[in-house]
């Protein structure tokens, strides 16, 4: 039957018309594919009703099915009795749709929107939410009777599977939708979603092999759409497709330009000088979201804005992951109602519900990637055809080039890929125990099922057997793990028998490992947020710090809670939260290199590049501006020693490894030691001795040959793996982290991941989790493939070595960044002023010399 002719379709169209709406083509396409039994992926810009493209598809299908059934009932009625009451009690239909969302905060609003649709279409469906915030009685109610639509996080799906008799929940399931799939894709939470979907599909197939379960994803644009679909729907025997919206979201990107360019740019300095330019923007907008890259920066900017304009007090708020849950909720509600003029936030507001009043977004500092920038821009002007408006505030002058690069990337849709996570044994081990806590599992069947997922398609039987041993006998040799008990066989199924163990496991389902955080609470009551334990250990009672935009005086730590009172001070130190610094993506790096060419050639239309031209002219004069096919090296001798600067533009993470690699290779020919610094553009090696480097050996130094061996020799890979093992130990259940801020009840079972890392390294070398830690370090931290690609590119480019007399505009930010790490900001300011003066003096001298040359 043609979909357009069906009752359900007509009903939906009628309803849309009544609210003066018309479906977009991608929506009707999705409905059509859904009706034909396809699984797939919907890709559309934010604000165009991605949710409805899937939800209405399911609704239409349901309305049509009901129609078919009604037909038969009406028929029966005629032949039977007449006195059946017209209005019957609601007969639940069972779980029809599972809607996976990465964010809890999304669930509330989604449920509201879906319920509205059901009411309007007179569809007797309940929409339920199940996640960490769902009250216990609600969960029990769901256990008795599942709602027709369940909005759920990947973690809660696993929790559901950790219960008894779950198989029955899914008998009527029609569809699983993974919302914001691009967000889940690149993380271990994505693997959790993959595994849960495979189990639910397996359960349904076992009981009702004739039924069709559709799996759909909804995703923003990413570089690897096809792969994203394969990860979500890896099954060969289902029809699948990608529905792409033929719509473009209009985005207006504007840089906040400085009036004056410092000849030597350094990170962080310029930003606060430009802060006053934000005030008129905030003033004329309804609500502005201001994105910073770190929580510490957000706190600083909040204080700064208040200092600039005291009238903003009470009208601006600060939102980041370390602020108390209730406080955050309040802020989110306040954005909804439009009470707030501006909210300063970190990536905590990247995703999520549409804040209608938000019409302007400001990005402070480089967003490091195209996708993230566009995502943030999309937070404003959320409804279709409205323009998203984003301002970019550079924190140092060179970031203006990044602004130009991002503009181009946005225009050409050069958007990063999200690499799916594969072979995470820790997640798989957790999942196996999860199933053992629930109804138990058959190891052979489960192996087949798991091997069908994208994440574990390379899984070897030997690896699987190791994991089975790990959860049943503890490990390889039987004697080494006496008395171990966890998963045991009962009636042919592997189960966890101990109730205590089951309970503990349920508390630890998930892959988000938090740092040791301590809750901060007022003496008089009321939570403010969280800070890292290590930060608190450094400050003394009576000292003040800022959190959630408030200046707080630290009093004491009591039962894992830091007690504070309001401080009279205006400013105080800002806690630093760990959490890695983001690194420039490869896409952005490539465009950036191109923009450097254009600046000097003036073959561009970017006002950002015009403004920065003097800086580039200076760079060209004292050194060289690298072209697209050139690789610039600067050698500078100062009082500090011999500097070697290189500019691959590959992001700080790649530079960190590359710097260590080059340092190692240099030291092979002659013993020499370096200190290393880097930023997103390049890196520095500094030594007391002259660096043995010239046009001859340079290509050899940057050669991709023997890369693997040299990396292992040059960096402390054990230390990196140890860091990676922290998460792995938590996820696989070796270490209990407890809930952030909550008192750990199982003190006698506490230990640290570092301890396990040592114990396994010493006594159980074949441990797969250990191997995973090294693999993760190698591929995620070291990014070996990207490093190799960069070295290949360098081999193909023309190497330019410049021996400069003093710091150049390009190297200066790297130098300053390295100083920042061991100096307070006051000292830093003075030191930089001195360095700038020195560089200027040398430049003057040089000019004078040149003039003299001319006269001669």
């Amino acid at each position: 039957m043609m979909l357009e002719k069906s009752t359900g379709y007509k009903k939906v169209i009628r309803w849309l018309k009544s609210s003066k709406k018309k479906p977009f083509k991608f929506q009707t396409d999705a409905w059509q594919y859904y009706a034909e039994g396809y699984s797939g992926l919907v890709n559309a810009p934010t604000g165009f009703g991605k949710t409805f493209s899937m939800f209405l598809a399911v609704v239409i299908d349901e309305l049509n099915n009901q129609e078919a059934i009604k037909g038969t009932i009406v028929h029966n009625k005629k032949s039977n009795t007449k006195d059946i009451p017209v209005k019957k009690a609601r007969k639940p239909a069972g779980l029809k749709l599972i809607w996976i969302t990465p964010l809890r905060s999304l669930a509330k609003d989604l449920a509201r929107a879906m319920t509205e649709v059901c009411t309007a279409l007179e569809l007797d469906w309940h929409v339920g939410v199940r996640n960490g915030d769902t009250p216990q009685n609600e969960k029990l109610k769901q256990k008795k009777q599942m709602p027709e639509v369940l909005i759920i996080t990947p973690e809660s799906m696993h929790l559901l599977l950790a219960q008894k008799d779950t198989a029955n929940y899914f008998s009527d399931l029609q569809c699983i939708v993974a919302d914001e799939w691009h967000e889940l894709l690149g993380s271990k939470r994505g693997v959790m979603a993959e595994l849960a979907i495979s189990r639910i599909r397996g359960l349904l197939m076992e009981k009702h092999p004739e039924r069709l379960l559709r799996i759909w994803g909804i995703s923003a644009t990413i570089g690897n759409m096809e792969q994203a679909l394969d990860v979500l729907v890896p099954y060969e025997d289902v029809l699948k497709t990608i529905v792409v919206a033929d719509l473009e979201k209009k985005i207006e990107i504007k840089s906040i330009l400085p009036d004056h360019i410092d000849m030597l740019p350094w990170a962080g300095h310029l930003g606060h000088k430009l802060a006053h330019k934000l005030l008129p923007i905030i003033e004329k907008s309804k609500t502005t979201l201001i994105f910073c890259n770190t929580r510490g920066q957000a706190e600083l900017w909040y204080q700064n804005l208040l200092k600039l304009d005291e009238n903003l007090a009470g009208q601006i708020a600060i939102h980041h992951g370390s602020i108390d849950y209730e406080l955050r909720n309040w802020i989110e509600d306040a954005i909804h109602t439009g009470v707030l003029k501006a909210v300063i936030s970190t990536s905590s507001l990247d995703l999520g519900v549409d804040f209608k009043p938000v019409d302007t977004v400001i990005q402070i500092g480089s967003p490091k990637g195209v996708a993230r920038f566009l995502q943030r821009a999309g937070r404003s002007g959320h409804s279709p055809y409205e323009t998203s408006r984003i301002y970019f505030l550079p924190t140092h002058a060179l970031e203006l080039v990044e602004a130009a690069a991002i503009k181009e990337a946005a225009k050409t849709h050069n958007i990063e890929s999200r690499e799916p996570v594969v072979m995470s044994f820790d997640v798989l081990i957790q999942y196996m125990v999860t199933l053992a806590v629930g109804d138990g599992f058959d190891d052979q069947k489960l192996f087949e099922e798991v091997k069908n997922t994208f994440a574990f398609k390379e899984l070897e039987l030997s690896e699987w057997n190791w994991m089975m041993q790990f959860i049943t006998t503890g490990g390889e040799s039987l004697t080494a793990y006496t008395e171990f008990s966890k998963v045991e066989k009962e009636d042919g199924l592997w189960k966890v028998k101990s109730r205590q163990m089951a309970m503990r496991h349920r508390l630890h389902i998930g892959t988000i490992v938090s740092d040791a955080m301590i809750k901060v609470k007022y003496l008089t009551g009321g939570y403010v947020g969280m800070v890292e334990e290590s930060f608190l250990s450094k400050i003394k009672p009576g000292n003040s710090f800022t959190l959630a935009g408030r200046v707080l005086e630290f009093i004491m730590v009591k039962e894992m809670i830091a007690l504070v009172r309001k401080s009279r001070l205006k400013t105080a130190i800002t806690p630093s939260w760990m959490g890695g610094r983001m690194s420039l993506t490869a896409n952005l790096g490539a465009i950036l290199r191109r923009k450097y060419n254009q600046t000097l050639d003036k073959t561009h239309e970017d006002e950002e590049l015009d403004i920065i031209l003097p800086l580039f002219e200076r760079q060209a004069k004292v050194s060289h501006v690298p072209k697209d096919d050139e690789f610039l090296i600067e050698l500078i001798k100062t009082r500090d020693g011999y500097h070697f600067f290189a500019y691959p533009f590959e992001g700080r993470q790649v530079h960190e490894i590359m710097a260590a690699l080059i340092a190692y290779r240099l030291s092979k020919s002659k013993p020499i030691s370096f200190s290393i610094a880097m930023n997103d553009y390049g890196f520095e090696l500094l030594s007391e001795q002259p660096i043995p480097l010239d046009e001859e050996n340079i290509k050899l130094l940057f050669s991709p040959a023997n890369l693997g061996e040299d990396i292992v020799a040059s960096i402390n890979s054990t230390e990196m793996a140890r860091r990676k093992f922290r998460d792995i130990a938590c996820i696989s259940g070796l270490v209990f982290q407890g809930f952030p801020g909550k008192y750990v009840a199982n003190k006698h079972l506490q230990s640290s991941s570092a301890l396990f890392f040592n114990v396994f390294s010493d006594y159980d070398k074949h441990n797969l989790l250990l191997r995973q830690a090294y693999d993760e370090a190698f591929y995620q931290q070291i990014e070996e493939p990207r490093l190799a690609a960069a070295l290949h590119r360098i081999q193909g480019s023309k190497v330019i070595i410049v021996r400069a007399e003093s710091y150049t505009p390009l190297c200066f930010p790297i130098k300053v960044d390295s100083l920042r790490e061991n100096m307070s900001s006051e000292e830093l300011g003075e030191r930089i002023a001195r360095m700038t003066a020195e560089a200027d003096k040398k430049e003057e001298q040089a000019q004078r010399r040149r003039k003299n040359d001319h006269q001669l």
């Binding site: 008395e483 250990s537 070796l734 079972l749 040592n758 114990v759 159980d764």
Partner: protein
Amino acid sequence: MTINCKGESLVLDKDKAIYWESKKMLIISDLHLGKGAHFRRAGIQVPATVMETDLDKLSRLISKFAPQILLVTGDMFHHQMNTEVETFRLWRTQFPDLRIILVKGNHDLLREEDYAGLSIEVHSKELLYFPFRFVHDQPRDFDEYYNITGHIHPGITIYGKARQQIKLPCFYFGSTCAILPAFSVFTGLSKIRAEEGDQFYAITPEKVVRV
């Protein structure tokens, strides 16, 4: 390394023990026997080789110093009787003449007869051997006795050039109290705050060094 403390000469051994020469006494703390098995019972994979390493280390110390007394300042056993305690019982038979004294710690929860069965003398609160008081955790009040304790598994972070740092277990000697490092391999470290006049002896794989 030998140090002088309150007029007594004490040997600090890199195997995390103190040997008190004049009393022929070997002093250790936080042995946590049976911790591995306790974890394994709870479904956490800890290899048993960990405990074998601990006992081997202890045997080595005993043959090195030939003490008359082995004093454990608390946390000798981790919670309950299990296979690892049985392994210890077997180990104990090698040293029938060795007096083992335990000052109880927070994890020592075996029954009195279990200790008797392993021929261990138990002191539930403290043990006085002038000029020292052996006790598991630091007491609040001070008197003429210098306290030798364990419990907190002291560690110290040493910073090197180029932002390198390394965390090591250590002996701590403060004004009123000394803290022994945890003997067991399967224990963590907690950093302690230094005060004026405190002395730290870090334990590297090769030797004990004063820092």
